[in-house]
Symmetry: C2
Subunit: 208 residues, 2 copies
Amino acid sequence: MRGNIPAATVARLPLYLRSLVEVAASQRTCSSEEIALLAGVNPAQVRKDLSYLDPPGVRGVGYKTAPLRDLLRRELGLTRNLRVAIAGAGNLGRALASYPGFADGGFEIVALLDTDEAKVGEMINSVVVSSMRDLERIIRDEGVDIGVIATSATAAQSVVDRFVSAGVQSILNFAPAVLKVDDRVHVRRVDLSTELQILAYHQSPTFE
Amino acid sequence: MRGNIPAATVARLPLYLRSLVEVAASQRTCSSEEIALLAGVNPAQVRKDLSYLDPPGVRGVGYKTAPLRDLLRRELGLTRNLRVAIAGAGNLGRALASYPGFADGGFEIVALLDTDEAKVGEMINSVVVSSMRDLERIIRDEGVDIGVIATSATAAQSVVDRFVSAGVQSILNFAPAVLKVDDRVHVRRVDLSTELQILAYHQSPTFE
DNA sequence: TAGATTGTTAATCGATTAACAATC
DNA sequence: TAGATTGTTAATCGATTAACAATC
């Protein structure tokens, strides 16, 4: 049942989970149509996506809200309290370390690393900045599951190489760079300037 | 020629542009294979995508680097110096205001808004924080093209409604919420906790 | 039973890519 | 001319969604 869920479906599961958390407060069951409305997708899409997970759905009634929410949490691995290290304690790294959505989702920021020794020892949202030199030791000692790259584009590749060598298999990359990694490593790219440029396209004078 | 470019193609243009800026320093021409390697996509994809733009390609030789770079800049609308307002001067809003990739891409942050009057007047990267109450006036006076939502999820919908009413047609949403807007408005969602949750999926014990 | 909604199939849609003719 | 690489077609692949049988 696992491992063959399409990537596009996996990417929508967090959206469904958010919708269910919202609905769970007031309803014991909810329909694919309600979930779809909150998630901004097609109801058939919701049913198809959920069907991969053997969901607690009852024909003619809907999905049992709380059990479906819990199923999604389990499937996404959010019951495991994953440990996150952030490389780069610049403005972005600091903002990420303080981002409430991370802690809410069961993620724990266990390290914030920077090459600037002047920043080492500084406290940001109850995480102490460590030296980038200690990256390997920290990953091992802290049992880091996920690495976040909030460094410059030039530093990004070497940092990700060190993360991967030390055993980190999941990377969230905020640096404006395309990282080259082993096929087994999962990289997700969040590229702020790319996003703005895509919006800029729709602003072009010739458009519409 | 414009307006019928597939969304998936548009989303890759910034990646090609970045590759070309890199290559332009040392090469007068470059092949689809070189661009593909740097952008992390298939060479046929590159040729197909560029073919929508009537590119400066020469069979047997490659694309003329500088003209192609400039064409991409024009197509993306980066020659227009677009004006950006950021709603929310929390950690994320501040980090965005200071993000070098924005200024580099020809985007100008012209406003940073917050409901907290204590923050009003504060200076962040040469932008003064304004009161959220003045949103409509600022959008008009400053000629804002793109709105960035860096508020809480609860405030996001009302802020985007005000942006849209005031004439902003392009929105970059960092709030963990699905915004409901008119079809003509372009919204791009950057959801940090969703990205982490997708990575978490690949960390699940049952996976692989 | 009538009404509702899931689960699933099959059709549609769109995006990716292999292949190759055009041509520098 | 031989070699290279674009531009484009057609095949493939995968994702979305309409439709409906199953069933509460």
